[in-house]
Amino acid sequence: MTTTALATPAVRRPVAIAVRWRSTFALTVASLFGLLAFGWPFLLHGTSANVDAAHTTDAPWIFAIVLPLLLLVVLAELADGGMDAKAIALLGVLAACGAALRTVSIDATGVSPVFFLLLPAGRVLGRGFGFVLGMLTLFGSALLTGGVGPWLPFQMLATGWVGLFAGCLPPLRGRAEVAMLAAYGAVAGLAYGALTNLWFWPFETSGLSPQISYVRGASWLVELHHYASFYVATSVGWDLSRAIGNAVLVLLAGRTVLLALRRAARRAAFNSPVTFVPAKRVG
């Protein structure tokens, strides 16, 4: 079975990091919790309207403590038996590339070429790899720049999602694939900006003009409206330029990067060796 799979190039999607059911479960729970951690201004209004005081002031604390721990559990679960030396080496090298790209791009334009590598990598090497690569890229760049802060777990999770979903895109090939990746890159760029802004929105705007700030206890529709106003007023320009930058970069170089990654994945032969089946047959 494995030998036939190895012999034919039919396996188009090598899985660099196997996602087993326990890791899937951990990933799902962490992602659900992450959604809550990002979206609590809309989700946690509850019935007590005006003075959800203790709840909403403490909520960010709880999320800031629990989310990184959950991410560590997910990482440990993914690593447990699913990560071999090749996956680690590839992860390290690609994370270094991504981190270097990120440090290059900290300027006013907002164009961040991090996704430029993450999208093809998630696409070629699978969703588990994409998720871990997204997280480690952000972590590595934070270590490089000395910018470790409470925002890091949130950024890591958001980038992890970008890589994860890049590994879940439908199987297209050729130009259609590059176009799909570019479109996804644009969407992901916008969504990433909106999500990560959402994390600091309640703090950044507390006490500012109520039409753009988080109002304790208001209904989720009102909060959404306020957040949309805030987003348009502050960051839509940056995020649009990031989205367009992603798409253009992927259109320009996506094919070459995909090819290079596929070749590396083929040489690493991720799907083959763990079972030792051929060795037994020979012996």
Partner: protein
């Protein structure tokens, strides 16, 4: 290095222990507030069809129309939306009937209910029971403008940003504090409502300032066995007997509220000491940084 391999395991365990301990402490601190089930704050109401409706919007985004009545009630609210409304009826005709309409101005009736003594923070007493009146605000003004036109308002900062924390210096310091309610329905019971005709007229409340009296009749009336069911289901005060006749504590008038903001100033020792400390530590930091550079 003799300690090259010493205690790799225990160190890890210690790091983990510290992390876990910090986590537990943080969550214990955060969770403490969650155990509380009620909040003590100024709740904001808007009258609709002569009944009080809990305002779904904040005062800053609630825009009144001419002829509207808004209400504020200070109380321990167990559940917002079904909470304790101002005890006076929102009767616009009574409040603003004698006030002529002006072009470009809205006439808005306002009721400020300081609540009962049982709901007051420790060491404080409500400065009165309630006050009502009529205010003018410019067209396009918000509920916050209405309140400001009527009384001295204290607004929160930081996590309490934008919240109405105090009206006429009551409560003095706190802002929408979480309180653990006792099982007794004391704070939940709606005090027997007063007859509106005697209390609502603008600026004509009976006077006798006795802030030192700890047992205000309002508190006494609140401890009367009123059915708690009524508190939860009907925020509409039913016009009933009038115990307010015997009131000794004087409800401040709108005019007195407006001037009440001027409190006695004393020399801010704390602020000066704090600023001096900041300067000292900051100077120390820059001195050490410069000493390093040399």
């Amino acid at each position: 290095m003799t300690t090259a391999r010493r205690r790799a395991g225990p160190t890890q365990a210690r790091v983990a222990a510290v992390t876990l301990a910090t986590l537990v402490i943080m969550v214990a601190l955060a969770g403490r507030a969650h155990a509380a089930t009620a909040y003590r704050y100024w709740a904001y109401y808007v009258a609709q069809a002569n009944t009080w409706q809990f305002s779904q919007r904040g005062p800053a985004t609630e825009y009144p129309v001419d002829g509207e009545v808004q209400g504020w009630r200070f109380a321990i609210q167990t559940e917002a939306g079904k909470g304790l409304a101002p005890r006076a009826l929102p009767d616009f005709a009574k409040m603003c009937g004698s006030t002529p309409a002006t072009a470009g101005q809205l006439r808005v009736g306002i009721v400020i209910d300081f609540g009962v003594g049982a709901d007051a923070p420790t060491g404080e007493h409500p400065p009165g029971t309630e006050v009502s009146g009529c205010v003018h605000v410019a067209e396009g003004g918000s509920g916050a403008d209405v309140l400001r036109a009527a009384a001295a308002v204290r607004i929160g900062t930081g996590a309490d940003g934008g919240l109405v924390c105090g009206i006429d210096g009551y409560p003095a310091n706190e802002c929408a504090t979480a309180v653990t309610t006792k099982p007794t329905p004391t704070s939940n019971a709606i005090p027997t409502p007063k007859a509106t005709p005697t209390t609502t007229p603008l600026l004509t409340s009976p006077a006798k300032a006795t802030a030192s009296t700890p047992n205000t009749p309002a508190a006494a009336s609140s401890s009367a066995p009123a059915p708690p069911v009524a508190a939860a289901s009907s925020p509409v005060p039913t016009s009933a007997s009038a115990p307010s006749i015997a009131r000794t504590s004087r409800p401040p008038t709108l005019a007195s509220l407006r001037t009440a903001a001027n409190r006695t100033d004393h020399f801010p020792v704390g602020a000066v000491v704090g600023a001096a400390l900041v300067v000292a530590v900051g100077a120390g930091a820059s001195w050490r940084a410069r000493a390093r550079r040399r």
